[in-house]
């Protein structure tokens, strides 16, 4: 007969009780009629105030741009930490040999991915997408390259150092964009509120500095995630 594992029983009771409490608090909170004051304001006036049609981008790069700065810092730190923890070894992972079909089709896809990412970034304030999604696609490209052509091929063109450099520049660019608000007479990260060309909503050149911030963040996220992946892949 199998012995009852008390640890598991204990854990089970613990997590079920926790789950019950979480459910309780969720229902209790949802039962309240929440006045979505902030969200309503964003929806009603967001387009006029920021010049961006995509309210999420407006929130990310104007209303709560400070959060975005913070999360850019997080991802930057994470990339640096992973690179610090896993120092350079020669890569020997992924010995899988792909057939030329795969290699050719990936080579065929990559430019399209590149275009998609550029599109997502530059239309971030107009349609779904933005710097983060674009950046993730850029990092997906580097992952694809590593998988298909091998680690060595990738590092010959882009090693961690170079990628980090781009990341630095992206982050500095984002900071500088933030400083523009101060120069224009507002506060840090001020964009539309200090009258930096909101533009007609719906146009490509609108939303003030938002497209620029999108590019900066895309550069950061794309390279940051690539650095993380490169470092993690770099197994000996």
């Amino acid at each position: 007969m199998k012995k009852i594992n008390f640890d598991k029983v204990f854990s089970f009771i613990l997590v079920s009780l926790l789950g019950l409490f979480i459910m309780k608090v969720l229902y209790s909170v949802a039962g309240e009629e929440a006045a979505r004051f902030t969200a309503d304001h964003y929806i009603s006036y967001g387009v006029d105030e920021t010049g961006a049609i995509n309210i999420i981008t407006a929130i990310l790069f104007d209303y709560r741009a400070f959060d975005t700065l913070g999360e850019a810092t997080v991802i930057f730190t994470a990339a640096s930490v992973v690179a610090l923890l896993l120092p350079r070894h020669e890569a020997s992972m992924l010995k899988t040999e792909f057939t030329p079909v795969v290699q050719q089709s990936i080579a065929f896809i990559l430019p399209f991915l590149w275009i998609i990412s550029i599109f997502l970034i530059s239309y971030g304030h107009l349609s779904p997408g933005g710097g983060f999604s674009g950046g993730v696609i850029i990092s997906a490209m580097s992952i694809l390259i590593i998988f298909t052509y091998g680690y060595r091929y990738m590092t010959r063109r882009f090693n961690v150092k170079k990628l980090s450099l781009i990341e630095d520049i992206g982050a500095l660019a984002f900071l500088t964009i933030g400083l523009a608000g101060i120069i224009a007479g507002g506060t840090f990260l001020a964009n539309s509120q200090v009258g930096i060309y909101p533009g007609p909503p719906g146009e490509l050149l609108s939303g003030g500095l938002m497209p620029l911030s999108n590019f900066a963040v895309a550069a950061k996220v794309g390279t940051g995630l690539s650095v993380i992946f490169l470092s993690l892949a770099r197994e000996d």
């Binding site: 204990f10 854990s11 613990l14 997590v15 009780l17 926790l18 409490f21």
Partner: protein, 524 residues
């Protein structure tokens, strides 16, 4: 103006720079003399220096009659110790002596609880480092024990101070209106009340004898001073506890045979006398108690000097190793006799006057006969010491080292000083500014003074075989260290549950969350 204790503390600071032993020695002596002059020169009963701590006013210098008297003897005795220990005190201990004596003197002249507590703790810290030795394991243990027990007392005092402050809003050094129990606990540890006394023999028997001479004069006396300033009760209950201490100290001492352990236990007993005096409501008795403090510092110092000289010259300290010394060290023998007669309260010797004053202030028969009994015990104890150390022919230890002139000079000076005060009751009355109607040298008082000693002398041959010396260990486990060890055992368990297993740690934190939630659910 400077608090009389501060010159010594400043000397300690200066001593950090001055490394030569002679210079430090005379620096200390000079600071002591300045401090004595300050005590004389500064006006009494006036707030002289203040400072502030948060929004509280600290009274750093307030000279009252009692504190001046005790301060004088503290300073004077330190000078005598300097003479005695001229060749014995090391460079580091000279500086620590500055802090130790300086804070002991300074505590007498502060007028508020915070500075009082400060110097109270400073005494303990300085004493810790005085006792501490880098090499000797035994001294390290002693120092640790000493500071732990004293900080315990100090913290209790602090809690009492805070309770009182919270109740009254005042920090002026006056009998507290709240938290008296904590004050008493703190003071009881400092003055070595029965039950909290273990540190006294443990410390004074283990440390180098020149330090024992020094330290025995201060720590517990500061406790007595604190008792005088702080504890004020309607009843005489304190006096009865004092009697208990006086008798208990003797009972503990009488079966020991290590010289300094005996003397240490007798400190406990003598402190009992002071407690009796201070605990009584009559002015005469209180003065007697304080005067006894002064006398006690002198003859206890002499006793420790005697023990130290014996130890220095023969290398033995246990009565079972000693004997037949009176011809080899006549001066020490003489000092021993003077000290014994003084501590026994024999007429025309040092302890007599103060004991007479205390007895004059006693209004209860029980206390009177109790003190007489304690007197018999004390006499018996030191007759035993004298007999087995100097007269008995059981052993015949050789003189290993001739004690230097400074030690002898110290003993001579202190004996002379004792005899001077013993013969001059008028000086005492001037010192305390009282005029008690006590006939010191009337036949009945003399009789009451002589009686215990004579009784003891007669009893000694009968009791000799019961209290004869035997070899003994200095260290014993007492209640406090047992408590400590059981705490350490608990600690080991606490340490063991940190097994390093992440999952265990995680479940702890989740369990904490769950418990918190359940408390809210069930109690709300």
């Amino acid at each position: 103006m400077l608090n009389p204790g501060f010159p010594l503390l400043l000397a300690a600071l200066l001593g950090l720079i001055l490394k030569a032993r002679k210079i430090r020695y005379f620096l200390t002596a000079g600071a002591l003399i300045i401090s004595l002059i300050l005590m004389f020169a500064l006006p009494q009963d006036k707030i002289l220096t203040t400072a502030s701590f948060f929004d509280l006013e600290l009274i750093l210098n307030y000279i009252s009659l009692t504190s001046r008297n005790i301060g004088l003897i503290f300073g004077l005795f330190a000078l005598l110790v300097l003479v005695y220990g001229y060749s014995l005190l090391s460079l580091a201990s000279l500086n620590l002596l500055n802090i130790f004596v300086g804070s002991s003197i300074a505590i007498l002249f502060v007028g508020d609880y915070i500075s009082f507590f400060f110097f109270w703790e400073l005494i303990s810290v300085a004493a810790f480092f005085l006792i501490y030795d880098k090499v000797e394991e035994k001294l390290r243990y002693t120092a640790e024990y000493y500071i732990i027990i004293h900080v315990l007392g100090g913290l209790s005092l602090l809690f009492g101070i805070l309770l009182n402050y919270n109740f009254t809003g005042e920090i002026i050094l006056a009998p507290p209106e709240a938290g008296l129990l904590f004050f008493i606990f703190g003071i009881a540890i400092k003055l070595g009340f029965l039950g909290f006394h273990v540190w006294i023999p443990k410390t004074y028997a283990a440390i180098p004898f020149q330090l024992a001479v020094l330290m025995a004069a201060y720590t517990s006396k500061v406790g007595v001073y604190a008792l005088y300033r702080i504890v004020e009760l309607e009843t005489n209950i304190v006096a009865y506890f004092g009697l208990l201490n006086a008798l208990g100290g003797i009972l503990l001492a009488i079966f020991h045979s290590h010289l300094r352990i005996i003397i240490s236990y007798s400190i406990i007993s003598q402190i009992g006398y002071m407690i009796v005096g201070i605990g009584l409501s009559s002015q005469i008795a209180v003065t007697g108690g304080l005067f006894h403090l002064i006398n006690h510092i002198l003859y206890k110092g002499l006793l420790f000097m005697m023990a130290g000289t014996i130890c220095y010259s023969t290398g033995f300290e246990n009565l079972s190793d000693l004997g037949n010394l009176w011809k080899k060290t006549p001066l020490t023998f003489l000092a021993g006799i003077i000290a014994t007669l003084s501590i026994a309260g024999f007429p025309f010797f040092n302890g007599y006057l103060s004991k007479a004053l205390i007895k004059a202030g006693i209004d209860s028969q029980l206390l009177y006969y109790g003190l007489q009994l304690a007197g018999v015990g004390t006499s018996l104890l030191f007759i035993k010491v004298l007999y087995f150390a100097f007269l008995s022919k059981n052993n015949d230890p050789d003189i290993v080292k001739i004690p230097p002139l400074s030690m002898k000079l110290g003993m001579v000076l202190i004996s002379a000083f004792m005899m001077l005060t013993a013969w001059n009751p008028a000086a005492v009355e001037r010192l305390f500014q009282i005029s008690p109607d006590v006939a010191y040298f009337s036949s009945s008082s003399i009789l009451s003074g002589v009686l215990p000693f004579i009784t003891a002398l007669l009893l000694f041959p009968l009791l000799k075989k019961y209290i004869s010396p035997h070899p003994e260990k200095v260290f014993q486990r007492d209640f406090f260290s047992k408590l400590g060890y059981s705490f350490i055992n608990l600690d080991k368990k606490i340490s063991q549950i940190h097994s390093g297993d992440l999952i265990r740690y995680l479940s702890w934190s989740l369990l904490a969350l769950l418990v918190l939630l359940l408390i809210f659910l069930l109690a709300g």
